[in-house]
Amino acid sequence: MTGGGSVGTGGTDGTGRSVGTGGTDGTGRTSGSDRTDATGGAAGDVVVRVDRARCVGTGLCAATAPDDLALGEDGRARARHPVSAPGEQLTEAAEMCPVEAITVLSALDGRRIAPVL
């Protein structure tokens, strides 16, 4: 499922709080270039970002892509892995999110894969 390596310099802390450099601020606007130095992510792997300030905890994502997203105890979604394999379910989870709190980015260059704007 995952490429086995962390992405960026911060990795995740297991809570899925962030991927990349030291925590998102809820804007989801960390530069994608932070991720170009990914180590261990297979070509085509993706990074799942959850904007936890936006998340309202509908749980649709965790039901749609349970391998990659889960609802935390605080009722907010989190990515389960530093990197994930791309897939229809993950794309659907990002496209379906009622508040657009989820983005799927290329692990290679930070390009947005879903949702398509």
Partner: protein, 402 residues
């Protein structure tokens, strides 16, 4: 709309919704619903959010055979086939059939069209001249026009729609028999609409949800009918209510903000969030909060709620929790919220139409203030006649002048 007014001998005039006083939030406490059923009232911001998101508290268990009565006179919120009253996989299956149409980016595509409806209504209002009833000319027709277009309800009889909507959200206004009859007619309308769109699909929301339901399978006909009814009602009633009550505030106690509201859409957007937070949809007497039932023991705010207990999440009080929102509406009208308001709920049942409502309100308030900078209330606040006996409360009519 056809709501009965109060008999003359009843209590002093109702205050506008923005004037309602909210209790000091505190730990969950036991009270009783109008049915006599014990209910845990939850009022602090964090606790209300927990009630909405914790899977041990749900809606479906409110309507199982062992459940205590929660409504004296059942209305649309008590329909066991409604999206609101499904949980888990069944809920998600049904919500999926419509969710894509309501994401922020899907709603944003409607923005130019909604703006054109707003402008058309304002043209008509101005042509007609001052004074005018802004509810009849603006705050009611806008949400009705929008949901009619989204669902493809051309030629919908607005009198019938008003009649159904009043009954759908009735608290004390109508008898159980009258509500059941109106809901029966409404369901018949929805069933006919579904049959029509199956035979000849279009680009509307109903055709879209039918296609999605067919593809996913597992969605019952009753659920589809209830969903269509729910979309029609929720698609206009609450937006109309919020817009009407926002105008009451902005032409009264909040009049100082009118010029800035007209200045730019961004300010109007910020004000919309604050108005949604601070002005509740109705009175707590009608509904102490949004109900859930505990499927197992669950701790909320330091209190153990036993399995089987009914919980009311009082979002109106939580939206005034001084620990989270310390400033008044007047002080903060154009300030970012800081913390999310609970107006649209949270968790699996977070309001499907939240982004549509926000967009309609923002455009409606901004353009109203821009086109009519001198708009004022034509009568005193105390003289406002309210739609009463429903779960929501808003002006039945509101005379304005410019």
């Amino acid at each position: 709309m056809s709501v009965e007014q109060r008999p003359a001998e009843s209590a002093p005039p109702l205050v506008p919704l923005h004037c309602l006083r909210h209790a000091e939030p505190g730990p969950p406490r036991l009270a009783a619903l109008p049915t006599g059923t014990p209910v845990w009232l939850v009022s602090r911001h964090a606790d209300v959010r927990q009630v909405f998101t914790d899977p041990r508290l749900n809606r479906a268990s409110l309507y199982t055979p062992d459940a205590p009565p929660v409504s004296v006179v059942p209305n649309i919120l008590d329909d066991p086939d409604a999206l609101l009253n499904l949980d888990g996989a069944e809920h998600q299956r049904l919500r999926r059939t419509v969710q894509r149409a309501f994401t922020p980016r899907a709603i944003a595509r409607w923005r130019p069209w909604v703006a054109s409806v707003v402008d058309g209504l304002l043209d008509d209002l101005i042509d007609q001249g001052s004074p005018a009833d802004i509810v009849a000319e603006y705050t009611r027709p806008l949400p009705v026009a929008v949901i009619s277009r989204l669902m493809g309800l051309d030629g919908l009889d607005l009198k019938r729609l008003g009649h159904w909507s009043d009954h759908a959200l009735s608290a004390t206004a109508h008898s159980a028999g009258a509500i059941a009859a109106a809901m029966g007619e409404f369901a018949q309308f929805a069933a006919e609409l579904i049959a029509e769109r199956r035979a000849a699909p279009g680009d509307d929301l109903v055709s879209g949800l039918l296609a999605a339901a067919r593809e996913s399978g597992g969605v019952s006909e009753r659920q589809l009918v209830s969903l269509v009814v729910g979309l029609v009602v929720a698609g206009h009633e609450t937006t109309m209510t919020t817009l009407g009550n926002a105008v009451v505030y902005l032409l009264g106690d909040g009049r100082a903000a009118w010029q800035r509201l007209a200045a730019d859409e961004e300010s109007a957007g910020a004000a919309t969030e604050q108005l949604l937070r601070a002005i509740p949809l109705g009175d707590t007497e009608a509904l102490p909060g949004l109900l859930r039932r505990a499927t197992e023991d669950v701790e909320i705010g330091g209190v153990t709620i036993p399995a089987g207990a009914v919980v009311a999440a009082d979002a109106a009080t939580a939206n005034h929790d001084p620990a989270v929102f310390p400033r008044t509406l007047a002080e903060d009208l154009f300030a970012p919220l800081g913390s999310p308001s609970l107006t649209f709920g949270a968790g699996p049942h977070h309001c499907l139409g939240a982004w549509l409502a926000r967009m309609e309100l923002e455009l409606a308030l901004h353009r109203l203030a821009r086109r009519l900078p001198g708009l004022r209330a034509a009568g005193p606040q105390e003289a406002i006649v309210w739609r009463e006996g429903l779960l929501t409360r808003s002006p039945l009519a509101l005379q304005v002048a410019w």
